[in-house]
Amino acid sequence: MSMLEGRAEEATSGERRERKKILVVGKEELFTEEIVNYAIHLAERLDYDILAMNVGTAWREGATLTSQAHLREAFKRRATAVGVAFKRKAAQSDIHCEHVVKFGNLGTAVEELIHGIKRIEFVVTESEASKDEVIREVTIPVFSVVSNSWTVNGGKIMAGEYGMEKRKPVGATIGYGVLTVALYAAVFTHSDTVMQFFTKGGWYAALPIATVFVFSFAHGHFSGHLWSLLGVEAMKRVVRRETEQPVARERKRVQKRPRLSAYIDPFHKI
C-alpha cells in the first residue's frame, strides 16, 4: 500500500518528517470501544498517527500525599494496560499509536501535550463535557464521539466542530437592517431640515456627532450580523494563538512565586 511505502521512505530519509496525529482523550483510565474504533477508522482514512491519552482528574482534596501517590500509581497501571490494548488494536490496522498518562486538569493536560508534541491536528474526546473542557484551553479543532447515536449507515454521529454550532443570526440581521433603513430614511427624507440644524455649529455640533454614533450602532450591528449570515466569520484559530501566548506565560510565573517566599520566610526569623 502507498502508506507503507510512505513509511519506508520516511525511515530511510535522513530527516524524518513528523507525521500528523489525532489526539484521543479517554474517560479517566478507560477508552470506550466506540472511541477506539472511531479513532482507528479516522486515522486509517486520513493516514494519521494516533496519540492516546488518559488523564487522571478525580483526586480528592483531603487525600494525603502518600495515598495520592498510591492512587496515581494504580491509575497509571490500569491506564497503561488499556493503552497497550489500544496500541495492539491500532497495530492491526497498521496505525502507529503512542500512549501517555497525565494527571490534573483535562484542558491543561491537552494544552501541554499540544505544545510539546508536533503536528497534533485535532482532538477527539469521549463526551461533550470533556470536549467543552478541552475547547477552553486549545486552539485546534475538538470533536466528541456522542454515544448511542447511530446513523442509517451504521456510522457514528459526530458532534460538530467547535465554532460551527453557532446559529445564523437571521432575526438580528433583519431587525438591525430594518432599524438602519429606517434611520437612513428618516435623515434623507428630511435632509433640508437636518442640514439646516446640523450645520449651525456651536452646541449644535452634538447633533451630527450623536447621529453618527446612533448610525454606527445600528448599521455596525447590521453589517456584522450580515457577514456572519453570509458565512464570513473570523477564523478563531489564528487569533487565539496570538493572544493566548502571553496569558499562558504569565500563569507559569504565578505558580513559582509561593515557593520562593516559603524559602525566604524561615530564614528571616533566624
Binding site: 486520513l46 455640533a205 453618527v212 448610525f215 448599521h219 456584522g224 477564523m235
Partner: protein
C-alpha cells in the same frame, strides 16, 4: 472662522452617481482600514472634492466618518484580542499633541509661501515619508514571506526595549515593555503626519512595529483606537464650525461599516505579514500618485513652466492612481481571504469524508 464658514460653504446636491461613488469608495476604504488600521481618507477627501464638495467640508466629513468606522473596527478586532487599548490611548494622547504642532507648522508654511507652497510642502513630505517608510515596510514583508512567514521583532525595537529609562511602561496585549520616552515620539510623529497629510496611520503603524516592537496584527488594530480618538476630537471641532455634511458622512459610513468589519475579519484569515504587504503596496502606489501632483504646485509657484495640458493630465492620473492603490490593497485582502477560506473548506471536507 465661524461666520466666514457660513458665508462660503455651499453644500452640494446629491445625485445617484455621487451616492454610488461615495458608497463604494467608503466600502473599499473601510475594508483597507479594517485590515491595516488606516486608509481610505487619501482617496475620499480628493474624491469628494472632485464631486464639487468644498475642501474644508470634504476634510470635515471625512473625519466625521472616520471615527465611527474606527470605533466599529476597533471593537471587532478587540473581540479577537488584537487591540492594546493602553498603547492606543498613550499613542493617541501624544498624537493629539503632534497634531497641534503640525497645524501650527502648517499655518507657518501657509503664511510664508501661500497656498501653493503649502500644497507643495504637503505633497513633498507625503512622497518622502511614503517612499521611505512604505519602501521599508514592503521590503520587510517581502523578506518575511521569503523566509516562510515568521515575523520577528526588529533589532532596533529590541534595543529600544532594552534601554530602561524610567518611566517604563508595559503593554499587556502587545506584550511589550518599553520606556515612555520611545513611545511618545512615535505618537507625536503620527499626529504630525496626520495634521500634514491626513493619514497618520502610515507612520503610526510602522512606528509601533519597528520602534516599539509590536506585532503587525496588534499594531494595525491599535491604530484604529488612535484613529477613533483623533477622529472624534477633530470631528467635534469641525462640527462646531458647522462644516460636517452629515449626508455625505452617512453615505460613506453605509459602505465603510460593511468594509471595516470585513477587513477586521480578514486579519484572522491571513498570516501576519500580509498586513505589511498590503500596507507597503498601498503606500508606494500613493507615493507615486502624490509625486505626480508635484508639478502642478511647482507651476503655481512659478518654479517650473510646464504645459497646462500636461499638468492637468498628471493631476487626473494622480487621482486615478490613488484609487488604484486602494483597489489593489482591497484586491490583495479579498484574494488572500478567499484563498484562506478555500484551504479551510478543504480541510473541513477531509474531516467530513472521514466520518
Amino acid at each position: 472662522m465661524h461666520d466666514v464658514a457660513h458665508e462660503v460653504v455651499n453644500f452640494i446636491d446629491l445625485n445617484a452617481f455621487s451616492i454610488i461613488f461615495l458608497f463604494i469608495v467608503g466600502f473599499i476604504g473601510g475594508l483597507v482600514s479594517g485590515f491595516i488600521g488606516s486608509g481610505g481618507a487619501f482617496v475620499l477627501t480628493p474624491g469628494m472634492m472632485s464631486l464639487g464638495v468644498p475642501g474644508t467640508v470634504a476634510v470635515a466629513s471625512n473625519m466625521c466618518h472616520k471615527f465611527p468606522k474606527s470605533l466599529v473596527g476597533a471593537f471587532k478586532r478587540f473581540k479577537y484580542g488584537q487591540v492594546d487599548i493602553k498603547l492606543g490611548l498613550v499613542m493617541a494622547a501624544s498624537a493629539a499633541v503632534g497634531v497641534q504642532i503640525g497645524i501650527r507648522f502648517q499655518q507657518y508654511v501657509l503664511e510664508k509661501w501661500g497656498q501653493a507652497g503649502s500644497d507643495l510642502y504637503v505633497s513633498l513630505s507625503f512622497v518622502a515619508v511614503l517612499v521611505i517608510v512604505g519602501g521599508y515596510v514592503f521590503y520587510d514583508a517581502w523578506k518575511i514571506s521569503k523566509s516562510g512567514g515568521e515575523e520577528k521583532v526588529s533589532s532596533l525595537a529590541k534595543k529600544l526595549q532594552s534601554l530602561k529609562i524610567p518611566p517604563m511602561i508595559h503593554f499587556k496585549t502587545a506584550n511589550v515593555t518599553i520606556s515612555l520616552w520611545f513611545t511618545v515620539p512615535v505618537g507625536l510623529a503620527t499626529g504630525l503626519l496626520a495634521a500634514t497629510i491626513a493619514v497618520g496611520g502610515f507612520v503610526g503603524v510602522p512606528g509601533m512595529i519597528y520602534l516599539v516592537g509590536v506585532g503587525g496584527l496588534i499594531a494595525s488594530a491599535t491604530e484604529l483606537v488612535i484613529a477613533f480618538v483623533m477622529g472624534f476630537g477633530g470631528s467635534v471641532n469641525w462640527a462646531m464650525h458647522g462644516m460636517v455634511d452629515i449626508r455625505l458622512v452617512l453615505i460613506i459610513l453605509g459602505g465603510s461599516l460593511l468594509g471595516v468589519q470585513l477587513g477586521a475579519i480578514g486579519t484572522t484569515y491571513v498570516k501576519e505579514h500580509m498586513i505589511k504587504i498590503v500596507m507597503g503596496t498601498i503606500m508606494l502606489i500613493v507615493a507615486v500618485s502624490r509625486a505626480m501632483a508635484v508639478p502642478k504646485y511647482l507651476n503655481q509657484l512659478g518654479i517650473t513652466h510646464m504645459d497646462v495640458g500636461t499638468v492637468d493630465f498628471l493631476t487626473k492620473a494622480s487621482f486615478a492612481l490613488m484609487c488604484l492603490g486602494l483597489a489593489v490593497g482591497a484586491t490583495i485582502i479579498l484574494s488572500s481571504m478567499w484563498k484562506a477560506s478555500r484551504a479551510a473548506a478543504r480541510l473541513q471536507e477531509s474531516y467530513g469524508q472521514a466520518v
